[in-house]
């Protein structure tokens, strides 16, 4: 069974069609990187999988359950999917620890003690133990994003969606976040990662998908897509990335 399946997904904002028929299967333990220009639909695709955006047509199946079915319990679906956003979106009025335990206590029904012990263990694992009782605005961007990843992990998701998680970071803070993601991949986490970090995609991805104008134009092993793409649009995109010194 695939961890995630998208069949003919369409999504419009007003008259602008952002996703124009996306088909994608992600196997368990697979790491898929979505690349493509800004506005190509990467973020929208991830938000649709988490039902943060309703889709107009098509089907999305997570771990065998169709999440886009009528009457599907979106809260139940979201428990199984962790999502990390570009802008961290930590809760500024809660300490790091409370950020991480909110989901487990309120959604999974864990006791506070149990949730806090688990949270501290996760924070420890990602080098954040000393920050547990601080508020997010006291942390660096890299630390905040790692907390956001830990917050998602605390729900023990089957699938992680990462939406350009390093794009809002200062260059020197990117590495620490990418390291965390590498650890997750090594641990067998199924992930769909929208990213502009091409060398990272090459290292970590089992498969790279190039999104262009709302469709997956080309996909395959990272080596082939990133060094010998077939589609002119893909070549053009990568050429611009190289010129920008980002690869």
């Amino acid at each position: 069974m695939n961890a995630l399946e998208l069949h003919g997904v369409h999504k419009s904002f007003g008259s602008h069609e952002v996703l124009r028929g996306i088909d994608l299967d992600v196997a368990e333990h697979e790491v898929v990187c979505l690349i493509g220009a800004s506005g190509s639909g990467k973020s929208t695709l991830l938000r649709c999988v988490n039902v943060l955006e309703p889709i107009d047509a098509g089907r999305i199946v997570v771990g065998g359950d169709e999440v886009t079915a009528r009457g599907a319990n979106v809260n139940r679906v979201r428990r199984r999917i962790g999502i990390v956003f570009q802008a961290f979106n930590l809760f500024p009025h809660m300490t790091v620890l409370r950020n991480v335990t909110l989901g487990p206590t309120r959604v999974l029904g864990h006791s506070r003690g149990e949730a806090e012990a688990d949270a501290r263990e996760l924070l420890e694992r990602f080098g954040l133990a000393a920050r547990a009782d601080e508020y997010p605005d006291r942390l660096s961007g890299g630390q905040q994003q790692r907390v956001a990843i830990v917050r998602a992990l605390a729900m023990q998701p089957e699938l992680m969606l990462l939406d350009e998680v390093t794009s809002a970071l200062d260059p020197e803070l990117v590495a620490e976040v990418l390291q965390v993601i590498r650890e997750l991949a090594a641990g067998g986490m199924t992930m769909v990662i929208a990213t502009h970090e091409m060398s990272f995609a090459r290292d970590i991805a089992d498969r790279v998908c190039f999104l262009d104008d709302g469709v997956i134009l080309e996909q395959g092993p990272p080596k082939r897509i990133l060094t010998a793409p077939e589609e002119p649009r893909t070549q053009q995109f990568l050429q611009r990335i190289i010129e920008a010194g980002r690869m």
Partner: protein, 258 residues
């Protein structure tokens, strides 16, 4: 320095103008009579306790009802349109009608129905009127707070599997309420002053009591006594908010490693 100097000049000029006015000796006698002030203060202070009581009772209900109204108004989707519409009509109506009219209609109208279950106390109906009016104002303050919380916060909460209600309760509202504490306090200072309007119904609160004193002595100094009491209650309230805001900021910025 210039600001201080010009302020002093203006106030001295104003003081000279007033004290040299032809009617000043008369005004001084009827409005600023120290003996009269001392004599009327104890009773007005006692009456003022009724203002404080009305204020405290009304405030609790306003805080709760206004929050409910603001949440109703933020419900999405066509299903909740009737509730949203109702909340909008309510807010528009009670913000539009002068408070004194609401107090008069309820205070004179409701007891006149002579229903067994309807309380006759004018103070009761005065409080009800204040709650109705101020709920409209305060719900708008809450709503501004709710809308100031970026949608990405709700998205982050929902993505953890929290329901809409849980996201509102644990993530959106705590941030919204923190942000609107100063404007909320502003409305409560208004409410505190408007408790004086209930005197219009006959409840003997500070203003009514000072009216009674003034009528008995042909001296208006008692109004001054009432004014002093209202100001004396406002100032601590204002300082309290400042302190609450400062504490929240401090807590977030200096939270230490455990």
């Amino acid at each position: 320095m210039i600001a201080v100097a010009s302020t002093i000049v203006v106030f001295v000029a104003l003081a000279l103008l007033v004290t040299n006015a032809p009617g000043w000796p008369e005004v001084k006698r009827t409005f600023f009579d120290w003996e009269q002030f001392k004599a009327s203060m104890p009773e007005i202070a006692r009456a003022f306790l009724l203002n404080v009581k009305m204020f405290c009772i009304a405030e609790v209900f306003i805080l709760v009802f206004a929050l409910v109204l603001a949440v109703l108004r933020s419900l999405p989707g066509p299903v909740f349109f009737p509730l949203r519409a109702l909340a909008i009509v309510y807010a528009d109506f009670f913000r539009g009608v002068p408070t004194i009219l609401v107090i008069a209609v309820l205070g004179f109208g409701a007891p006149a129905l002579q229903l067994k279950s309807v309380p006759l106390s004018t103070t009761f109906w005065g409080i009800v009127a204040l709650v109705l009016v101020y709920t409209a104002y305060v719900s708008e303050v809450y709503r501004a707070g709710i809308e100031s919380v970026h949608p990405s916060q709700e998205a982050a909460a929902r993505s953890l599997g929290l329901s809409r209600g849980q996201a509102l309760r644990f993530v959106v509202l705590p941030q919204a309420v923190r942000r609107v504490v100063p404007p909320l306090l502003n409305d409560f200072i208004g409410l505190q002053k408007d408790t004086a309007l209930v005197g219009f119904l006959g409840s003997v609160e500070a203003f009514k009591q000072s009216q009674i004193d003034a009528a008995a002595t042909f001296n208006y100094t008692s109004y001054l006594a009432a004014a002093v009491l209202f100001v004396a209650l406002t100032i601590p309230l204002a300082r309290l908010t400042d302190w609450l805001i400062a504490r929240d900021r401090r807590r977030r910025q200096t939270a230490r490693v455990a």
